[in-house]
């Protein structure tokens, strides 16, 4: 038995790769529909969006993820947009990452089509602007001067939805969807400087850095990784805003199974490690 665990701890890594591949592919092909418990931080984001009156001041979603972090952040964008558009909550989309320009447009136009929302009245996409912190600060002064034209080249001063929107004072919620440090920058520049209400949607590895701001209530809510996206999808579905099962919910089956596989590997690896250490100690004895 001992030898088995010791040999297992030295297993060829290609077998591990194979197991990981199976644990990802099988749940994607045959969903297990694992149940999900919604965390209070996800619930907080949902509640804020849910309390914004329809056809009123718009929320601002900043798409700041590239293709590498897309599997975690793109489903968040779809879930939030489904929630907003089903309730006729207006949305301003921007991006501070060149990589995300096409992804932001894709999410906005896909969900707008799904709910029959009209560009310029229900949502607007202002596209990419370099400068990160300067852009965040500049929106606090005047959003239309910061983005004189939208993504499609139309002057923002002529967009009906933006007539009454000047700065953060008319934006009830800012949601950066990001896999980078800009999650904190929004809190510093938009939150602290202009008192904007910020709720972040970030990759799982970023989440632990933001708990300090959740505790101080500088951050109003947090979607943490694919799990956060799946929780939001569940809330949107439960509230009857959509019948579609989102990509994050399907992805969570694969992620959960893979986590279990990795946990099993770690346990087996440690058993093997302890047994081989014990054998080595015994061998050293006279």
């Amino acid at each position: 038995m001992n030898e088995f665990f010791v040999r297992l701890s030295k297993i060829d890594r290609r077998y591990i790769f194979l197991l990981v591949a199976v644990s990802v592919i099988v749940p994607l092909l045959f969903p297990f529909h694992y149940p999900t418990r919604v965390t209070r931080h996800t619930q907080a984001v949902f509640d804020i969006v849910d309390q914004i009156p329809p056809v009123s001041n718009p929320i601002l979603i900043s798409f700041e993820y590239g293709p590498s972090t897309m599997p975690e952040c793109h489903p968040m964008a779809y879930a939030i947009l489904r929630h907003a558009f089903s309730r006729r909550v207006r949305v301003i989309g921007i991006t501070l990452s060149a990589d995300a320009t096409g992804l932001g447009e894709q999410a906005l136009s896909d969900v707008a089509r799904e709910y029959g929302r009209e560009y310029g009245k229900d949502y607007v996409y202002l596209g990419y602007k370099p400068g990160v912190s300067a852009v965040m600060l500049s929106i606090g002064e005047d959003i239309k001067k910061t983005f004189p034209r939208d993504f499609y080249g139309q002057p923002t001063s002529g967009i009906p939805m933006l007539t009454e929107v000047h700065n953060y004072s008319q934006i009830p919620l800012v949601i950066p969807l990001t896999g980078s440090q800009t999650a904190t920058s929004w809190l510093i520049y938009a939150g602290a400087r202009y008192h904007a209400r910020v709720a972040d949607g970030v990759t799982a590895v970023m989440a632990s850095e933001l708990y300090a701001f959740l505790q101080t209530k500088q951050l109003s809510g947090l979607l943490a990784g694919l799990k956060g996206a799946a929780e939001y999808e569940r809330l949107v579905q439960q509230a009857g805003y959509t019948k579609n099962e989102g990509k994050a919910t399907r992805g969570m089956d694969a992620l959960s199974t893979m986590h279990l596989v990795i946990i099993t590997f770690i346990i087996l690896g440690n058993i093997g490690f302890f047994l081989s250490r014990r054998s080595a100690k015994k061998g050293e004895r006279p």
Binding site: M70, A230, H259, I262
Partner: protein, 207 residues
Amino acid sequence: MRRRLPLLICLFSGLFFTIQFFIPHQEVRRLYADGLRWLIVVATFAVVLATGSLINHHIRKLRRRDKDWSYSLVTLLALLGMGIAGFSTGTRPGTLFNKLFLNVQVPMQSTMFGILAFYIASASYRAFRARSKEATLLLLAAFLLMLSAVSFMSYYFPHITTLSEWLLMVPNLAAQRGILFGVFLGTLATSIKIILGIERGWMGGGR
């Protein structure tokens, strides 16, 4: 003059952006808003500089036939191709640029990132061992956080979520806050040194 002028601009801008915070006068606010738009323009030039630097670096590698020069060729061709596609057809949906982005760049970059999962699994199996007290603590914390990330575990055993949240909100927060204080105090000190011209690394010639 070549050195003094940038230092003077830096000193003036740094002092202005600091002082304006305390002067809510209309004219100061207007100057501040103009300054922010200037910053965005300067950031745009940084993109041009970065592209120029990238091209120079790879052309140099190609000329010298350095190791893996073929990758430099691919980088330059991709840059040129996307540039031509972007400038000739625009970046809107349905354009060649957008199609290349969604159908080439997105799958390639996602695949590269996806491969990480395999290495993480293999590395955690081999390296995540309880070799010492510290390593055991790290292992237990990671174990608990990974369990809470498994959706049905947190559903059927809510205490796992409670415990993992405690880990994130108490020990993690204590360490994170210490790091944050350090980082922001460091940023503040460096900013003051740059404004006063003590730190001149940004000018490209060291101190």
